[in-house]
């Protein structure tokens, strides 16, 4: 147990270093963008005088290292600053959107994981049969379509044709959870279609891998039923790669679904980041960029720890 704790500690330390490096990359990346917030926010209305006035007001005339250090210091203290474009506190803009993104991602993952894992087990069980090939083909086709295409098809069928679900997933704080879930069902389904194939394929491959082991052969020789072998003997031992792929998909669902957000008009973090980048709203870009990175790293850390706990071999490793 001590060894596990030590491992977790080491992993966390590495994550913090990674986050620091990412913060540097984000800052430099933002600096490299052509044009600045003053010009971009003013858009067609930018004149040299108004731009100069705006730049001074935003302290864009200070050198980059000074701005980086003060930003990092504030970030560590939970001070994300104010949006340059409309002066609103960044923290306030990010919090509820992050909650929305998490809600959508969790809903999608809650639908996707059971479906994908069961399909994966079944595919492993009926390996190389028509059934296996069919679900592989279907799920892989869904992952190959662009997200907006699946979204439009679902809207076309369920909103426009049958009018069962709304085409806009514009949820707001006043809605009860039930209404929220109903409203976001179509975007959640769209995302489910996208992540199912990953998880399903990974489950199938991991189980098939374990099925080649000697102890499975032993179980077969003892005359156990195939379903029992897979569900109770093979699946627990193939958990760690499955946990990893679920975590990666979860991270993707939180930070990378801006297209689905746009199509369904869902107020998540993605749209905030895109708007902020196109308007050079640096505090928002930096804060959300870093929060994305932290989410990714945290979920990966979680996956690592969980797969270590699930797999004694990894528990003993020196990594």
């Amino acid at each position: 147990m001590k060894q596990v704790l030590w491992l977790i500690l080491k992993r966390t330390g590495a994550s913090v270093v990674t986050i620091f490096i990412i913060s540097l990359i984000i800052f430099i990346g933002v600096e490299l963008l052509p044009g600045d917030v003053a010009e971009t926010v003013l858009g067609q209305s930018a004149t040299p005088e108004t731009v100069a006035a705006f730049r001074k007001e935003l302290k864009l005339d200070l050198p980059p290292p000074v701005r980086y250090m003060s930003w990092l210091k504030d970030f560590v203290h939970g001070e994300f600053g104010n949006s340059l474009a409309n002066k609103r506190p960044v923290a306030q803009q990010i919090t509820w959107r992050f909650a929305n993104s998490l809600l959508l991602a969790s809903t999608a993952i809650l639908i996707a994981v059971p479906v994908a894992v069961i399909l994966g087990i079944l595919a492993a069980l009926y390996r190389n049969t028509l059934f296996d090939k069919t679900i592989s083909a279907v799920t892989l086709s869904f992952i190959s379509f662009p997200e907006f295409f699946i979204a439009y098809i679902l809207i076309g069928i369920f909103s426009v044709k049958f009018n069962i679900f709304p085409s806009l997933a514009a949820i707001n704080a006043n809605m009860p959870l039930g209404t929220k879930l109903y409203t976001i069902l179509l975007p959640a389904l769209t995302l489910t279609f996208i992540v199912t194939a990953h998880i399903m394929r990974q489950t199938r491959a991991a189980i098939i891998n374990v099925l080649a082991s000697a102890y499975i052969e032993m179980a077969e020789l003892k005359g156990l039923r195939r379903l029992r072998i897979i569900a109770l003997h093979a699946f627990p031992n193939s958990l760690s790669p499955v946990i990893n792929v679920i975590a990666v998909n979860m991270a993707y669902l939180v930070v990378g679904v801006v297209i689905v957000e746009v199509v369904f008009v869902y107020p998540g973090l993605g749209q905030l980041l895109v708007d902020a980048v196109s308007k050079r709203d640096l505090p928002v870009v930096q804060a959300s960029g870093l929060i994305f990175a932290i989410t990714y790293i945290f979920l990966n850390l979680l996956a690592d720890v969980m797969s270590m706990l699930a797999n004694p071999k990894l528990r003993k490793s020196q990594l």
Binding site: L42, G43, S45, T47, S159, V160, S167, N172, K279
Partner: protein, 532 residues
């Protein structure tokens, strides 16, 4: 061929007049192509008789961004312009006839040289926070856009103001540097809404105004929600109980939301699919002609655009009819290389329409010795929907005149700061202005911050100042017509077309004459429309 297509064809071929086309289309049950000038005479009293109160009006609007603010100095897009006029008023409203009518100002007048303007304010109007609107608030709201530190888009128009002072609580006097006959129009600009004196920083976001709706909820780039102001001083306006404005940037998402009844109004229909939308039951499509136009500005202080033969050749090498047909799908009219629209008061009707003439274009280009030159045309769809396609069309049509054009694709991101006014020849969009003076002053006058062609024409600049102070309508007409022909024959902007504003709404809604002054019924559909 459907009847509408037949009408469109006849119109495109010039076999029927514009008016006939409009009547024909209207007879088909579509509220189409309403030129505000054709509907003069419809009065608001009629509206008051037929309008009904109540209901929740939901709009899906373009242009929303999470970086938006409710500070009027920052307005650039449909979404915040529209919300602004749900919750605030101006001194002057510009009506569907492009005439200034009283709003928070009851009446106004000027000295004969149009240098001193006095506005009498309406008494007893309250802001949403209970404060009474007085001259102090008006002066604060206008001065918010003036001065060194201002970053307002209206700064340019207000440069002419020397001094603003109050004459008692309900009179404001504007002293101008030079006479301006159209000054009331300027006060109808969407930036110049009246807010309580002293508003600053995050207080702008509360949206306190004197308007027909009170802002309850405002999340930039997502939605706004406003409830009817029970205390509204206009009796025949603001009919809905609640108005919700959603930011829907994707045109397919807007269309679907309208089809499924989640919204009742959308701006900017996708022209490629609008014919399908028209066939939907319960949906009305409106196409309104206004002052909006697409332009292709050349920087005339850069070689080879400093040679008027080159400019003339490029102007002649553009197939305007094809652009209107392909890019606007017929929802627009050909332009004549000046920014004054047919709906403007002093539009030069008798100025000869420039046509696609490859032979003449070649002649001018040869004269300039530039037939071997490759002209770079910078384009991105940020300029307007279809700008890149339009650039390719321009390139192909110019080929027939022996002119070589290379279309340079630019990123949408940062287009207005990195390409427009920086590259020698690019695609551009203008919303137009309700009066000639504003349009010319903002983008064609020498030294104007948005003079996107760097054009300097002494005769034009002199006429601009003279016409501004001239109160005799016929004399002004003469001057503005001459200025239009100067733009057309010497200016640096190619203006190939005026685009219509194509929008769709639920047939449950009813409305008076639609304004072409700005999109979404002059950005005032929240206050002018009602549920039938």
């Amino acid at each position: 061929m459907s009847e509408i297509q037949q009408l469109e064809k006849l119109y495109n071929e010039g076999k029927i007049s514009r008016r006939k086309f409009i009547t024909g289309v209207s007879a088909l049950g579509l509220t189409a192509a309403i030129s505000p000038l054709m509907f003069s005479g419809c009065d608001t009293e009629e509206t008051a008789k037929t309008s009904k109160k109540g209901g929740r009006f939901v709009m899906g609007s373009t242009g929303g961004s999470t970086t938006d603010s409710m500070d009027p100095a920052t307005f650039t897009s449909n979404m915040n312009q529209n919300i602004n006029w749900q919750i605030r008023n101006n001194l002057v409203e510009i009506d569907h006839n492009f005439k200034p009518i009283p709003e928070l100002a009851e009446s106004w007048g000027s000295t004969p040289d149009a240098k001193i303007w006095t506005f009498k304010l309406r008494q007893g109007v309250e802001f949403h926070n209970g404060k009474t609107m007085t001259s102090e608030d008006v002066i604060f709201s206008i001065n918010h856009h003036r001065g060194e530190k201002s970053k307002s888009g209206a700064k340019g128009y207000l440069k002419n103001i020397k001094n603003i002072k109050a004459d008692g609580k309900y009179e404001v006097v504007f002293e101008l540097n030079g006479g301006s006959a159209d000054f009331p129009f300027i006060l109808g600009d969407y930036h110049l809404s009246i807010c309580p004196a002293g508003t600053k920083d995050l207080e702008w976001e509360k949206g306190v105004g004197t308007g027909g709706y009170i802002l309850e909820n405002w999340e930039p780039g997502v939605r706004s929600f406003a409830k009817r102001n029970p205390n509204y001083w206009k009796e025949d306006r603001a009919h809905f109980e609640e108005v919700e404005t959603l930011s829907i940037t994707d045109s397919v998402a807007r269309t679907n939301a309208l089809k499924t009844g989640q919204i009742q109004y959308m701006d900017r229909c996708a022209l490629k699919t609008v014919h399908l939308l028209k066939q939907m039951e319960g949906v009305n499509v409106t196409a309104t002609t206004g002052t909006a136009h697409y332009s292709i500005p050349m920087l005339v202080d850069q070689k080879p655009y400093d040679n008027n033969d080159v400019r003339m050749a490029l102007k002649l090498a553009i197939n305007r009819e094809a652009l209107v047909k392909q890019i606007l799908r017929g929802y627009g009219e050909v332009g004549n290389d000046h920014p004054i629209a047919p709906v403007n008061q002093f539009f030069a009707k008798n100025l000869e329409q420039r046509k696609y003439d490859p032979e003449k274009a070649k002649f001018h280009m040869k004269k300039a010795g530039m037939l071997d030159h490759v002209f770079n045309l910078h384009a991105a769809d940020a300029a307007f929907a279809g700008a890149v396609d339009a650039a390719v069309l321009v390139k192909e049509d110019a080929k027939k005149a022996g002119i070589k054009i290379n279309v340079v694709r630019e990123p949408d991101d940062g287009y207005w700061s990195n390409v427009w006014m920086k590259k020698e020849w690019c695609m551009c969009f203008w919303g137009g202005r309700p009066v000639e003076d504003m349009m010319f002053s903002v983008a064609y006058a020498d030294g104007a911050p948005w003079n996107d062609t760097h054009w300097k024409n002494d005769r034009f600049n002199k006429l601009l100042v003279d016409a501004r102070a001239e109160l005799d309508t016929e004399k002004r007409r003469g001057m503005y017509e001459e200025m239009q022909s100067l733009c057309r024959d010497d200016g640096g902007a190619i203006i190939p077309m005026y685009n219509q504003m194509v929008e769709a709404s639920s047939s449950k809604l009813s409305h008076g004459p639609i304004s072409g002054h700005m999109a979404m019924d002059g950005m005032r559909n929240g206050e002018r429309w009602w549920f039938a």
